[in-house]
């Protein structure tokens, strides 16, 4: 019984939140890695692109709510998602046409791309704050919990409860669907293959008759979809605040590099790695050891590797460790 309790404890506090946060990071990281692989620069405006997409979804949600439309048990935001995706694609393509295309044709160095992406970051930052304001917004509606801790205790008779929020399940399901479609597209379809070829060797791809304009267009479309979905899922799970989205860019970058920059599958695993280390290393294991150890060996301290204040710092530290050991990332980067 103690053993079961300890497992439930870990599931409740590490595994479930880890999977949710990991999925959100993974979706974001795949977007960053695709931009890096195909367009060959680190996009600092990505966090704000996520914020923009989420903002459109929120506005659309409010509109639907005012019309009295809802999605039953599911959050209305899921209905609003397509509109958000469409507008985000429009914004991405607009910035690509007006800004990035010029530098791509000039074959500028990666640093110039980073700098102009900073400019776009400032602009998107302003746009989001001007339209929706800098404050916390909670736009989650529908059914909140699938399983409450108390219900679980009554059901099983265990000491520890297991709470599962509906947003956590939605996040997982959406991530699975999005990623399976994406990886199917990249690995099985002709367009996906030509995208990978372009990323691998641009000149050779051009020689084989691959249209670079089409590849760039498709990349921005995919990236915008990923950004909006990841942003909306994060906002549903926690809440929407423009500044948090900018900050989330940092663990997303960490996940991207840890997984090997330019490698979508690596970014996927990188997201989960970062999420689980952030949560696992800041969790206090005292109660867990209380269950599995005999009473005489009960721990007196919290058994916490580092305090929760340093949650963000862990992902940065992992990144630096990876950069020292394997600068190409754990899963060999630079091929998508």
């Amino acid at each position: 019984m103690d053993f079961l309790n300890s497992i439930i404890l870990l599931t409740n506090f590490i595994i479930v939140p880890g999977i949710t946060y990991g999925s959100q990071l993974a979706l974001g990281a795949i977007g960053v890695t695709l931009i890096y692989g195909v367009l060959r620069f680190a996009n600092f405006a990505y966090g704000d692109l996520m914020a923009f997409g989420t903002m459109v979804v929120i506005l659309m949600t409010w509109y639907l709510q005012s019309k009295g439309i809802s999605f039953g048990l599911l959050p209305t935001a899921l209905l609003a998602l397509p509109i958000g995706i469409l507008l985000t694609i429009a914004v991405s393509l607009f910035f690509d046409k007006t800004v990035f295309e010029y530098y791509r044709n000039k074959k500028s160095n990666p640093v110039t791309f980073i700098v102009v992406s900073l400019g776009i970051m400032f602009v998107l930052n302003a746009v989001v704050r001007i339209i929706i304001g800098p404050n916390d917004i909670n736009f989650m509606d529908g059914h909140k919990f699938i399983m409450k801790a108390r219900e679980f205790k009554q059901l099983t008779g265990l000491n520890e409860g297991l709470a599962i929020k509906s947003t956590q399940v939605i996040t997982l399901v959406t991530t699975i669907i999005t990623c399976s479609i994406l990886f199917y597209f990249l690995n099985k379809t002709k367009t996906g293959k030509s995208m990978r070829a372009y990323s691998n060797n641009e000149d050779l791809a051009l020689l084989s008759g691959i249209d670079p304009k089409k590849i760039v267009l498709i990349t921005w479309v995919i990236v915008s979809i990923l950004a909006t979905v990841a942003g909306t899922l994060y906002g549903l799970d926690k809440s929407f605040k423009p500044f948090t989205y900018f900050n989330n860019l940092l663990p997303i970058f960490a996940a991207t590099i840890v997984g090997g920059i330019g490698n979508p599958l690596g970014a996927f695993y990188g997201g989960f790695l970062i999420a689980f280390s952030e949560i696992g290393l800041t969790y206090a294991y005292k109660k867990f050891f209380k269950y599995i150890m005999p009473e005489s060996l009960e721990p007196s301290t919290l058994i916490q590797f580092i305090s929760t204040d340093y949650k963000f710092a862990i992902s940065f530290a992992i990144l630096i460790v990876v950069l020292i050991f394997r600068p190409n990332g754990i899963f060999k980067g630079k091929v998508i």
């Binding site: 640093v111 746009v127 963000f312 630096i320 020292i324 050991f325």
Partner: protein, 456 residues
């Protein structure tokens, strides 16, 4: 230096901006804008040394600024004796432990540089040291933080004049830059950008959460000043005489002695604020001139030529026998030291240290906009960028207000759109920064004052 055309452009722009604000708004606002412009110019010069001279991307500006800010606390705040007596020994021991860890990592790096598992040893030492450090320092930290938690709860500093802290901030920043540079500088440009950004995130987290050191999010207020306080000025004889002298014509028009005295009082109070800011401006101007002078000297010296050679063609410079790694590390430390210096100046000017206010947008990317807009690789460009960008940053809100009123003039006062737009006026500065950066990168990629290529 003075005959230089860039120099003239740079400082006439500064004078014109300050005088304009002084005439149209107020001299107090003009001077505080000028002071922040000067501090920004120092920051921009620091970044320009790294990016303009050597081509190193440092997105960790925020972290080095915070270290400079931390130095003001460690130097100028009076020590909390009670905290030292309960927890001082524990902190010292853990400090020694940390030093031992760092030294052992370096020794392993040097002695076992060929060993297959060298990196794993280093990794193991660092991983093991974190819980150990917590174990050693934890009890003392709890004791220190529990002493007068509302007013102190930290160790305090050395109670020295705050001006020393600027140099301490520079040295501390250089030391941190040494460690960061050792780890990150070998990376490619875009990796370097991301990793320095993340390192600055780690630094901010530490400053924010180690309350025994910096009071963390509880902030330290009421720091010392290198200039007199307004209250003292208002009571001193010579200052009142000075104000009387400058406003003699205004005062002589008033005949009633009581009204005259109250008017004089008002004038003294308002001019004491201006006088304090003027003192700051003078000190900051001296700093800007000194750093500018030495940066120019360095840029035009053989060393500066070597740095540009390394920047423009690293392989060739290496082939000519230049130690690129060493020079990169040195210039990274130098630039970070100047940034740390500016960080200490900023905290001194504000009179308070608020770790939670350090955000990358304001303290990293804005400084970068200054350098890129002003002119990469040109010291005057960096100074000009500091002035212009800070001016836009400060003045874009009133400007946006005017524009919004112009376009929404036909809407009535209760209109939702008008109200909403007026509330979001502060965010128009981001828009201006972004558009400014994009336009400059497109149409003047070398900045307003481009780098001068000297042909000998």
């Amino acid at each position: 230096m003075i005959k230089n055309i860039d120099f003239r452009i740079c400082f006439s722009v500064m004078t014109i901006l300050t005088v304009l604000v002084g005439l149209f708004q107020s001299w107090g606002i003009a001077l505080s804008m000028l002071n922040l412009c000067l501090i920004s110019a120092v920051m921009a010069m620091g970044v320009n040394i790294q990016w303009g001279f050597a081509g190193l991307i440092n997105f960790g500006v925020m972290g080095f600024l915070a270290i400079g800010g931390l130095a003001t606390i460690l130097v100028s705040v009076p020590p909390v004796h009670e905290a030292w007596s309960v927890g001082g020994i524990g902190i010292l021991i853990s400090g020694l432990f940390l030093a031992a860890v760092v030294i052992s990592v370096f020794i392993i790096n040097k002695k076992l540089s060929k060993h297959k598992y060298k990196n794993y040893f280093v990794f193991l030492i660092i991983i093991l040291s974190i819980p150990l450090l917590k174990f050693i320092a934890g009890p003392s930290i709890n004791k220190i933080e529990s002493i007068n938690a509302a007013t102190s709860g930290f160790l305090g500093g050395a109670n020295l004049p705050i001006i020393f802290s600027w140099f301490v901030g520079a040295i501390l920043s250089a030391l941190v830059a040494f460690v960061v540079g050792k780890v990150c500088l070998g990376l490619r440009s875009d990796y370097l950008a991301i990793s320095t950004l993340l390192v600055s995130g780690i630094i901010i987290t530490i400053v924010k959460h180690e309350e025994w050191l910096s009071r963390g999010v509880k902030n330290v207020i009421g720091l010392k000043r290198p200039v007199p306080y307004e209250v003292n000025l208002q009571e001193s004889e010579w200052f009142i005489n000075l104000v009387q002298f400058f406003n003699s014509s205004k005062l002589s028009n008033v005949l009633d002695p009581e009204v005259k005295i109250s008017l004089l009082n008002q004038l003294v109070i308002s001019s004491s604020g201006v006088f304090v800011k003027l003192c700051f401006s003078l000190i900051f101007l001296v700093v800007v001139f000194v750093i500018l002078y030495f940066s120019e000297k360095a840029l035009n010296s053989p060393w500066g030529r070597m740095m540009r050679a390394i920047r423009d063609n690293e392989e060739a410079a290496r082939a000519m026998g230049k130690n690129v790694v060493k020079q990169h590390l040195f210039i990274f430390m130098l630039g970070s030291a100047i940034i740390g210096f500016a960080g200490a100046m900023l905290v001194t000017y504000d009179g308070l240290f608020t770790p939670s206010s350090y955000q990358p947008l304001r303290y990293t990317f804005l400084i970068w906009v200054m350098v890129l807009l002003g002119g990469t690789g040109n010291n005057y460009g960096a100074v000009l960028g500091g002035f212009v960008v800070w001016f836009i940053w400060i003045q874009s809100a009133p400007f946006a207000m005017v524009v919004i009123n112009l376009f929404t003039g036909h809407l009535d006062e209760t209109s939702y759109i008008k109200d909403h737009l007026q509330n979001s006026v502060p965010y128009f500065r981001y828009l201006m920064m972004g558009l400014g950066l994009l336009l400059v990168m497109r149409y003047r990629p070398k900045g307003l004052l481009p780098e001068k290529v000297i042909k000998n």
